[in-house]
Structures are given as structure tokens and as C-alpha cells.
Amino acid sequence: MKGISHFITGVAVGTFFPDAVRAAADGSFILVLGGIGGILPDTIDFKFARFLEEPDILIDPHPERFEAQKIADEIAAGIDRVGATHKKQILKCNTMRLGPDWWQQYSLKFDTQKSEVVVKLGPIVNTSQMPLPESEREWPEGRATIHTPLLPTYGEFMTVDIFSGPSFALEWRNGRVEIDFIPWHRQYSHSIFMALLFGLICGGLFFLLGSSLYVTAGLIGAFAVMAHVLEDQLGYLGSNLFWPLTKVRSTGMKLIHAGDAIPNFFTVGTSCMLIIFNLDRFSPQPLIDPLVYWGVLWLPFPIMLVYFFVRKFRADMLKRIPLLAQQEGDLVAETQEVVDA
């Protein structure tokens, strides 16, 4: 889900604690902990973990001397090396910046049907990824054959253009090479362990500050992180929920993609309504009639969600995409959100 959905869910979680709401009305900032916990897992990944990852294969092309064939060869050789040694490799593709707002786009595709890596040069784009008219150059495409069997993966062209480029873990699994997109994401940061840790930090901090609400603060922090982790389970790729006991990211419930507009809007809208409802419920003189509030005012949100699922399941019936490809597509969308933000 998008950052704002996780964030506002965390705030909503906090408002379920009556003592926290009453303290907030008296000037406390305790409910802010919910928001921080809500966005914390992605903050750890996108602001720290991604930069600490050491690449084994670094693609760092030059816009004027772009060698598509050489890049494709390098990536294919890396995959074959994993096939031969069974040792994990991290592939990182850097972007090409041309100026403050201009980037030279290129794209790559892992074609599992033909066992090929395809690399091609794209147009010049601005930071909103809008192409500069007539900037696409005639440039030879790079194609390299992979001699090692691949597990199904995201099969479309992935563009590498603005800010930070993507990375991939090439890993030997069940007799084939798995191409795992953005391997630093949704690992330890999206686990029950992280929820407990953040809860302890929040509780400890409030205890040290002499607040009697330290237990509530700890619970808000822990539940907010947990809410983020659970929301991510709704997608195609779950997370490494039981880190450090487990090493791999689980499969999600396959209900939504991270960037889907309607589920995100549903989450934000419902969370806002929950916050207002709880603030009213725990106030000395509640004003809201629950029946009207949930029965009438909230109604557009579930209706939109139903419409979304009807359309989604119809579309899913028409095109059968392998699960791994869907999961990697989800990660591409989530990284895109961070880029957009």
C-alpha cells in the first residue's frame, strides 16, 4: 500500500485507546506514535536498508556510450554464474542523470520464455517520467541468452530512469535461478519482531519521560507497525513475517497491488472516519450517530471497493499471470510510489 495509507492506519490504530485519546485532548502528542509506527517499516527499507546493500554486479551505463549488448551480456553472465556456483548475486542498475530534471531512460526485460535478457535505450525523460518529445534515439538493442533455467518472473520491460535504480537478487532455488526484485525490501523491517521492538522503544521512551501512559504508548507503537505488516499481506508479496526465524518473504493474499488507487483511497477514507469516530466516542459528549455515520456516510467507500474487486477479478480471469510475476510487479509499483513521492 502507499505510504499515506499505512501512516493514517497507524494513527487510526492509536485512537482505539481511550486513555490515549483523552490524553491527546489534554495536549499530549501520544497519537503521533501511531503514524510513525505506520510508516516505519518502509522508512527503514527505503531510507536505510537499500543503501547498505552491496552489489556484486553493478550496471553503471554512460548516456553517450550506452552499450546495450554489453549490459545484457553482463546480466546474463551473472545469472549463469549463479547457476554454476549456486551462490547468490546482487545485481544493481544505476540511472543516468543528464541534468537537474532530465534523465536518460533505459529498460531491461527478463524473458523467461526465450531465456533471454533484453536491454534497450529509451527516451530522455523528466523527473515526472514524461518523455522529451523526439528524444528517443535509434540505438541497437542488446540481447543475451541465459543458459540457466529461470523461475517465472515479472515479464515486462522495467524502466530504469529517475533517482535510484532497481536492484535484484539472483538466487538458486529448486534447480532454477530466481530473480528477486528489490531484495532489501519487506525483510526484517516488516516482521513481528520489528513491531515488538518499536513497541518497546515507544513504551521505554514514555516511561523515561515519566508518563503514566507508557504501556499504551508501547501498544500503539507495536500495533501500528503490525497494521502496516498486515496491510502488506493483502498484496501479492507478503513479507518476512517471522524474521529472524525465517529467511524468505511469504506470499500475500493476492487481493490488491500496492499502487491500486481505490484500495488505497478506501484505507485512507476509512481510517479518517475511524479517527473522527473514536475522537467523538471517547469525548465527554459524543455527537455522532453511529448508524448514520457508518450506514450512510461511510457507504461510498465499500461500494467503491466492491466495484474495484468486481473489475479486478474479471480482469484476472482474462489474463493469467504467474504469481512470481505478480509479486515482482507489486514491488515495482511500490518502488515507483517512493520515486513519485
Partner: protein
């Protein structure tokens, strides 16, 4: 009654016409002039009645809300509410589509009018109840917005570096600059609130030099230094936005604008930014339309809430100033104000088309560096005129803070710490304590 309505309409249309001219002058905020009008009206009540003054100001705020994009897009001189439009707007300008960007914001504004009309019968119930519920909670809600603004800024570098720590440092330079911008502008805001060098007789212009220094001057200076060349502009006969796209933009902008109109300190830009995230919008056109709606509802919506027959919410500079000398009464005036918002809004939209054509002519005829230089002199002159040497001092302090995001590629929105920090602290009752720490009181 009909004659009275006609008189009120004439005042509102005159206000819209006046504001449409004022909106063309970069950094000259409608509140700067409205403040003077209210001071004059207070001492000359035999010449202008309360309702007439209110409708004159209503027209002014409608005209300003619709037309202040012209200076933001074509002159690159934004304020706190147009800061989000200037980036896509100038991008469009560099792609020969400046006129189209201005029109898209206008369409957003028209959408905002439709939203206000649709909400007018139920606004009393919704906003009245909502205000009662959230009033004791405003401090932490603003803190939540601040935390989100800072936590949702993601690194824009960090690709290159021999070690993980080197990459981390590279990535955090921009983020650190963003946080520093927010902290420094927040301190500036606290200083202005407790010990402003702006003379007390011009206290209602207190924030003008800070806004000019934080938002307008860095952008204009950037245009002067970079020597940006404006390509030949295309006056499009149609706009490239299907109805579904307009609906998405207006919907998103309405959420943000109404949020900003209702909550203290949250500007139209911030409201639109939050709503854009909430509704998962990506397209530049949707973004520009939504900012047009959000900006319109932020200014006009806040003033419209002042006319609610019983709830009468005082939010925003205009109603804050007017409330000191005038109280609107009755549902009739409320519905008249809604109608006049629509009339003035539509007239301002057509003026926007006209003025945007004039701006296109200007940027094509005159070297853009000279336009930017003239804008810069105008900004400095206005700050001196309205706030004296004290204001110039504030502006000189604000400029380097406003430059930080330009130099480090972080978000300019962080400059809004100038408003968000002091107000949040005050709402939580912590403002005087922090001012004491800073030696201000």
C-alpha cells in the same frame, strides 16, 4: 431585497476585478490589500456597510484564488499556496504549454465552485459537528501532518558510493537538508510570532517578508542565474484532459482544499499534496487540476465557512481580519455568498484566460532573465513598502533557508515550518516555553 442583492453583487464583482489585477503582481497577497481595506472600512463605516465590505472581500478572494497562478507559472514567483503549482507549471512553460497549465488550474477552480455549491446545504451540519469534535485535538493532528511531511520525503540519491555508508550519506544529504529547512523555517516562524522586527502597526503583514524570502525569491533568483530560455508558447484551443481526468483532479483537490480550508495553518498546497497521495494520483494534468481546486477551496472555502449561519467558522486570514469588525447573519446572506462565489469565479476564469494570453505575450517578447530580474526588484520593493527595513531583514534571513531545498533538491514544502511549527506549539500550549528557550520572551 433584489436591489440589495444587486448591490452586493456589484461589490463582489468589483472585488474580483480588483483582485484579478493584484494577483498579477508577484508576492502581493490579497490579504495584504484586504487588511488595508478593513482598516479603512473600520474608520469609514458610514460609507460602506458590513455586508457590502464582506462581499467586496469575497469577490477579492475569489478573484485572487483563481488568478494567482498566472504569476506563479509565468513569472516563477510562488507563495505558500502556489508552491506546488510552480514546478509542474514551469515545466509546462518549458514545453511551450504554459497557457495550458494555467487553464488546467482554472478548470480545477471551476470544479471547486461546483463542490462548494453542492456542499452548501449540508456544510453547516458537517463542518459544525466536525469542528466540535476535532477542536481539542488540533495540535496533534498538525503534528501528524508535520511527521508525515518529513517521513514521506524519500531519498533522491545514494546510487553511487564505494561503501554502504558513503551511499547512505549521499542519500541523506537531501533528506537532512529538508529536515534542516523545516527546523530553521520553524525557528523563523517562532521568532516572527514572539519578537518580530516588523513594526507593530504593520503586524498583519508579518508573514509577507518570510513568504517572499522562503518561496518567491529563491525561485526567481534560480531563474535569473540559470538564464532559462522560454520556448515559443502554444495557445491551445482545447485542453488535453478527458472528463474522467478532470473529475479525478477535482475530487482529489476538493478533499485537500476542504481539509486546508477547515484546519488551521494547513495551506491549499499541503492539503492538495496529502489528497494527491490519498487518491494515488500520478498524472501531471490531474495534479495541476487538483492543485487548482485545492487552492481555490483553501482560500474561498475558508471564507465561505465564515458565512455558515450558525457554525460561523473563523479560519484563514480574510475571515480572521473581517471578524474583528463584522459578523454575518442569517441563511439568506449565506446563500447569496454562495451564489456570488459562483458568479465571481466564472468571471475570474475568463479573466484567467485573458491574463494568461497576456503573460504568454510578455514571456515571448521580453528576455525571461529580465522578467525575472524585474520580478525580483518588485518583490524587494513590495516587502520594503509593506514592512519597512524590519521586513527586509526578515526576508534576508528567509532567503538562505528557502535556498536550501533548491541547492539540495529537497522539498520546498518544508519551508512551511514557518507556519506549522509555531502554531502547533501554541495549540499544544508549548509555544511560550519554546520562545523562552530561544530567549524571545
Amino acid at each position: 431585497m433584489n436591489t440589495e442583492i444587486l448591490t452586493l453583487a456589484l461589490y463582489a464583482l468589483a472585488g474580483a476585478l480588483l483582485a484579478s489585477l493584484l494577483a498579477l503582481i508577484p508576492a502581493l497577497h490579497v490579504y495584504n490589500i484586504a487588511g488595508i481595506f478593513i482598516l479603512l472600512a473600520a474608520s469609514a463605516q458610514q460609507f460602506i456597510g458590513g455586508n457590502e465590505l464582506a462581499m467586496l472581500l469575497l469577490g477579492m478572494i475569489v478573484g485572487y484564488a483563481m488568478l494567482n497562478t498566472v504569476s506563479a507559472i509565468f513569472l516563477g514567483a510562488p507563495d505558500d499556496s502556489t508552491i506546488f503549482i510552480v514546478l509542474p507549471g514551469q515545466k509546462y512553460l518549458l514545453m511551450s504549454r504554459g497557457y495550458e497549465a494555467a487553464v488546467l488550474t482554472g478548470i480545477g477552480g471551476l470544479g471547486g465552485i461546483a463542490i462548494l455549491i453542492a456542499l452548501s446545504p449540508i456544510a453547516e451540519t458537517i463542518f459544525g459537528t466536525l469542528r466540535s469534535i476535532v477542536l481539542p485535538h488540533l495540535h496533534w493532528i498538525l503534528a501528524v501532518i508535520i511527521v508525515y511531511m518529513l517521513m514521506a520525503e524519500w531519498p533522491k540519491g545514494g546510487d553511487r558510493g564505494a561503501t554502504g555508508l558513503a551511499r547512505l550519506w549521499d542519500a541523506w544529504k537531501g533528506l537532512g537538508a529538508g529536515i534542516l529547512t523545516f527546523v530553521l523555517s520553524g525557528i523563523l516562524g517562532i521568532v516572527l510570532m514572539y519578537s518580530s522586527p516588523v513594526p507593530t502597526d504593520r503586524a498583519f503583514q508579518n508573514l509577507l517578508p518570510a513568504f517572499v524570502g522562503l518561496f518567491a525569491v529563491p525561485w526567481v533568483m534560480d531563474n535569473v542565474l540559470s538564464g532559462a530560455q522560454i520556448p515559443t508558447q502554444h495557445i491551445a484551443k482545447t485542453f488535453d484532459a478527458p472528463p474522467s481526468m478532470i473529475a479525478r483532479g477535482v475530487f482529489s483537490g476538493a478533499l485537500g482544499g476542504l481539509f486546508a480550508a477547515f484546519f488551521p495553518v494547513v495551506t491549499g498546497g499541503v492539503g492538495g499534496y496529502l489528497a494527491g497521495h490519498a487518491t494515488a494520483q500520478r498524472d501531471d494534468r490531474v495534479f495541476i487540476i487538483s492543485q487548482g481546486t485545492s487552492k481555490f477551496l483553501y482560500y474561498v472555502g475558508a471564507f465561505w465557512l465564515f458565512f455558515l449561519p450558525t457554525a460561523r467558522i473563523v479560519k484563514g486570514g480574510m475571515s480572521g481580519m473581517l471578524a474583528t469588525i463584522y459578523t454575518p447573519t442569517g441563511p439568506d446572506l449565506y446563500y447569496v455568498s454562495v451564489g456570488l462565489i459562483a458568479v465571481c469565479g466564472v468571471m475570474s476564469f475568463f479573466l484567467l484566460l485573458l491574463y494568461s494570453r497576456a503573460a504568454v505575450w510578455l514571456v515571448q517578447k521580453v528576455n525571461y532573465r529580465y522578467i525575472s530580474l524585474a520580478t525580483l526588484f518588485l518583490l524587494v520593493g513590495l516587502v520594503y513598502f509593506f514592512t519597512g527595513l524590519g521586513g527586509l531583514a526578515v526576508m534576508l534571513v528567509a532567503i538562505p533557508i528557502g535556498w536550501l531545498p533548491v541547492l539540495w533538491g529537497s522539498r520546498r514544502m518544508n519551508c512551511l515550518g514557518v507556519l506549522l511549527v509555531p502554531i502547533t506549539l501554541n495549540l499544544a500550549g508549548l509555544g511560550p516555553t519554546v520562545a523562552q528557550w530561544l530567549g524571545l520572551i
